[in-house]
């Protein structure tokens, strides 16, 4: 290393991290120079958050080296030492909301020499610290009263006061409006000029181009590319994120060209359907035999649409109709009665009762059909469950096995069985293949296709490209608005670009 160039703020080489059988990081590298804003991008599951965990001392790498400013990383578990090297500002606030800014800044290190806390002194130290970094926040404010970007400034100031010269920003703009983003970026550039390095993690490629000088792309736990930002075109970046997958068409892929008859009466239609703060008025029409995709990243509002359709949330306005019948807003029983089957986003949250049996979980929605006078006959429950186990190929010891003992893919099939149990006219599936293996994925998406082919309608809400391949038509949502519509012939690049909001703020 020549004497002129300072050592990199952080350098990671050949980092490997496994969680059980899953390889989360497969020999990745990353170098951030002092005073640089370095973007780390990649699709979900690319390994970004695991790397952040390794860089901040939360995870212990299985192999590889990490150095900060040329010195090896502190020992695993030495929190104080890590704090003096690097800090992460998470999406989730890491301040104590009911304490003042001053207390948050000096939490647990009020004053080593004094026996009691001197509040006046603490306030003055906080003022000095905030002034040193040009943060205009009153140290007496309670942290909960701060604006999101002010809270981020406080967290950055706290990290810098520990001596850290590398700040990791995990999706810092997700909860900010345009003016907040402008203020945040201004502050970041100022700190950058003083030699602070930033690792910027974002789904918004536009922001990467605005703020960062270099970019690193990970895909499927591997390092793909590192380059100065001005040397990579947006299309190349998107291509690097998605990879040139030679996706052979499988049985469940939407067959291009056989567009559903536009004159047919729609199975599902919405009129000015909206939910304040989530998505803006939306008119949807899904015809018999059609699978509609609602693509969008985490904060795009697409999951909220799915939940409103299923009755889990009450719409702010507008109507939902199934085959002409209006569905009462915010009522799951009425949605079920109207013929809407629902595969929730997270099977652990809304999908399964883990301690109960496969049979019970699969028949939760049809409990009124399993016997006369409100009874549930065990024989009919088992019979029904056996049918579902066979038709969906659920690997289980039997209908009586607790559902918690099944693998992820088979648990998801139980959730699907529950959604299909009432023979729905409309199947609403939110991220239906999250956390399942390739084979289960094939069979789950095959089910979605079969439901539509039987003359019903399906809505797939997801940000997974594979989920969306089953759709005849895809609407991309960004910040609650439909920003693009695609027929089945879309390319990975254009859909990802639409989901990431490329071209939004130009």
């Amino acid at each position: 290393m020549d004497a002129q160039a300072p050592p990199p703020a952080v350098q990671a080489e050949g980092v490997v991290k496994r969680f059980g059988p899953t390889v989360a990081l497969d020999g990745v590298k990353l170098t951030v120079r002092p005073g640089e804003s370095h973007a780390l991008v990649g699709r979900n599951g690319a390994g970004k958050s695991t790397l952040v965990g390794v860089l901040t001392g939360l995870h212990r790498a299985d192999a590889g080296t990490v150095t900060f400013g040329g010195e090896p990383a502190p020992a695993f578990g030495d929190t104080a030492a890590w704090q003096s090297k690097v800090a992460c500002v998470y999406q989730k606030s890491m301040v104590v909301p009911d304490l003042t800014v001053a207390e948050n800044l000096f939490l647990n290190r009020f004053d080593e020499n004094a026996r009691r806390i001197s509040w006046g002194k603490l306030r003055r130290r906080a003022e000095q610290l905030l002034a040193a970094y040009g943060v205009q926040v009153d140290p007496n404010t309670r942290a909960r009263d701060l604006a999101v970007e002010q809270r981020q400034f406080v967290e950055i100031a706290r990290a810098l006061s520990f001596g850290a010269r590398l700040i990791v920003l995990d999706e810092p703009t997700a909860q900010l409006d345009a003016r907040g983003i402008a203020r945040l970026f201004e502050k970041l550039r100022e700190l950058q000029s003083r030699g602070v390095a930033f690792l910027f993690i974002s789904h918004h490629l536009q922001e990467v181009y605005e703020l960062c000088t270099a970019v690193t792309v990970y895909r499927d736990a591997r390092h793909v590319l590192t380059a100065p930002v001005d040397e990579v075109a947006k299309e190349d970046l998107v291509a690097a994120m998605t990879g040139e997958k030679a996706a052979g068409a499988t049985a469940w892929h939407a067959a291009g060209g056989t567009a559903p008859d536009p004159s047919a009466e729609p199975v599902l239609s919405t009129e000015r359907l909206s939910l304040a703060g989530r998505f803006e008025p939306l008119d949807l029409q899904v015809r018999p035999g059609e699978v509609l995709g609602l693509a969008g990243a985490a904060a795009s509002g697409n999951t909220a649409v799915g939940e409103v359709l299923a009755g889990m949330r009450k719409a702010g306005g507008g109507t939902v109709r199934v085959r002409g019948r209006a569905v009462r807003a915010g009522s799951v029983p009425d949605a079920l009665a109207a013929g809407i089957g629902y595969i929730p986003e997270d099977r652990h949250d809304q999908g399964l009762v883990p301690e109960r049996s496969v049979a019970e979980n699969a028949t939760l929605t049809v409990a009124d059909q399993l016997g006369p006078w409100g009874t549930v006959l065990p024989s009919r429950t088992r019979e029904f469950a056996r049918g579902m186990i066979a038709s969906l190929d659920i690997k289980t010891q039997g209908p009586e096995q607790p559902v918690s003992g099944l693998s992820g893919g088979n648990q998801q099939k139980v959730v699907v069985a529950r959604a299909l149990a009432r023979d729905p006219s409309v199947l609403v599936a939110v991220r239906p293949t999250a956390g399942v293996d390739v084979k289960s994925k094939d069979s789950l998406l095959g089910v979605v296709r079969r439901v539509a082919d039987a003359g019903n309608a399906a809505v797939v809400v997801s940000d997974e490209l594979d989920d969306l391949r089953v759709c005849d038509r895809v609407l991309a949502l960004f910040h609650g608005r439909v920003v693009a519509a695609f027929d089945s012939g879309w390319t990975d690049g254009e859909l990802v670009a639409a989901m990431e909001g490329v071209g939004e703020r130009e």
Binding site: Q369, G374, R386, A390, S391, G398
Partner: protein
């Protein structure tokens, strides 16, 4: 209710029904029974053996009948609490309901003069039982209102209700016992059917009905879904709040009914009726394998929990433990029973 079940993949489904898939014979079903629900049965047998060794009186029918008689009121509270716990809630006020419900009924029924307790005499004597049950139902319904509509903390809300109702009880009775018990109460508490107290039969029937409802009624099964994962239950179209509210009301109703049996049996309502019971109720439920987090446990387990506690107390009494040490031993027994059932079932208690 259509009575027919047709999943959308009907072809595969019909085909599957004709062939019988392997691995689902009655024998394999037996393997999946939760044996932990029966874990207290050997404990009860061991206790009976110890009782037999300690005192020859133990195995007489008089003694055993008195044990089950004494268990009957407690077990009704446990039944109510078990249902409430299974759907993921708790109701501490049951122990006050067992006292206040009969008091309210008698207050409305008994004449203003003549007896030692001056009632209001507003309603005829036959309405004592319906009034008592109604009072219990109302307490449960108010608890439900507090927890489900106002969304206040259920633990503190029912703790407040417990204290408030105890105070109301003392206020109405001026701290004295009421001995002018209506004849209908007395009948249920005192009479014997087939040589066994009516209260015991009634308890058994109610447990059987409750157990059957949990096993074979869709609203009964919904309790497990609600307690196990309320969001999943909601996504499956179960009206979570409505079912929970009903269960809370039933809990109050059962406590009031326990009050009728208890009052009838002893021929009086003391100002302390039910005082301190809630601890035993929770202990019996947890020992019997009901999870405080909801979604797990059976009524059979709860019943064995009650019997275990009562048997230990009986064996100790027969063993001649001095009365002054009763409270100490009561607490100790519950802790020991808890530890035993934890390891007998092999499951964590939570």
């Amino acid at each position: 209710m259509t009575g027919t079940v047709r999943p959308s993949t009907a072809d595969d489904f019909d085909a599957a029904l004709k062939g019988s898939p392997g691995g689902d014979t009655p024998l394999s079903r037996l393997r999946l029974i939760r044996w932990s629900d029966f874990s207290l049965v050997p404990v009860i047998l061991v206790l009976m053996l110890i009782g037999f060794i300690v005192s020859p009186v133990f195995l007489t029918s008089d003694n055993l009948i008195s044990v089950v008689q004494q268990s009957s009121e407690l077990s009704l509270l446990v039944l109510g609490q078990a249902l409430i716990l299974i759907c993921g809630r708790m109701d501490l006020s049951l122990e006050s309901t067992i006292g206040i419900a009969p008091v309210v009924a008698m207050w409305l029924v008994l004449p203003p003069d003549g007896g030692r307790f001056a009632g209001l005499g507003l309603l005829p004597g036959w309405s004592a039982i319906p009034l008592c049950l109604l009072a219990g139902l109302a307490v449960g319904a108010v608890n439900g209102f507090l927890m489900l509509k106002l969304r206040v903390n259920g633990f503190i809300a029912t703790l407040g209700m417990l204290t408030m109702l105890r105070g109301l009880h003392i206020g109405i009775t001026e701290g004295k016992s009421i001995t002018d018990v209506p004849e209908s109460f007395r009948y249920l508490g005192k009479s014997e059917w087939f040589g066994v107290p009516a209260a015991v039969w009634i308890c058994l029937v109610l447990f059987a009905v409750g157990g059957a409802a949990l096993a074979w009624l869709r609203h009964g099964r919904a309790l497990y879904a609600i307690g196990g994962n309320p969001e999943a239950a909601r996504a499956a179209g179960i009206r979570v709040d409505r079912v929970t509210w009903t269960v809370l009301a039933i809990g109050g109703l059962l406590a009031a009914f326990a009050g009728i049996l208890y009052t009838g049996h002893y021929g009086a309502v003391a100002a302390t009726q039910g005082d301190g019971w809630i601890f035993q109720v929770f202990a019996a439920a947890v020992i019997g394998g009901i999870s405080l987090k909801g979604g797990r446990g059976t009524l059979f387990g709860a019943l064995t929990g009650v019997l275990t506690l009562q048997l230990v107390v009986n064996v100790m009494t027969l063993g001649g433990v001095p009365a002054l040490w009763n409270q100490f031993l009561n607490g100790a027994i519950i802790i020991v029973a808890l530890v035993i059932s934890r390891f007998a079932s092999g499951e964590k208690q939570d």
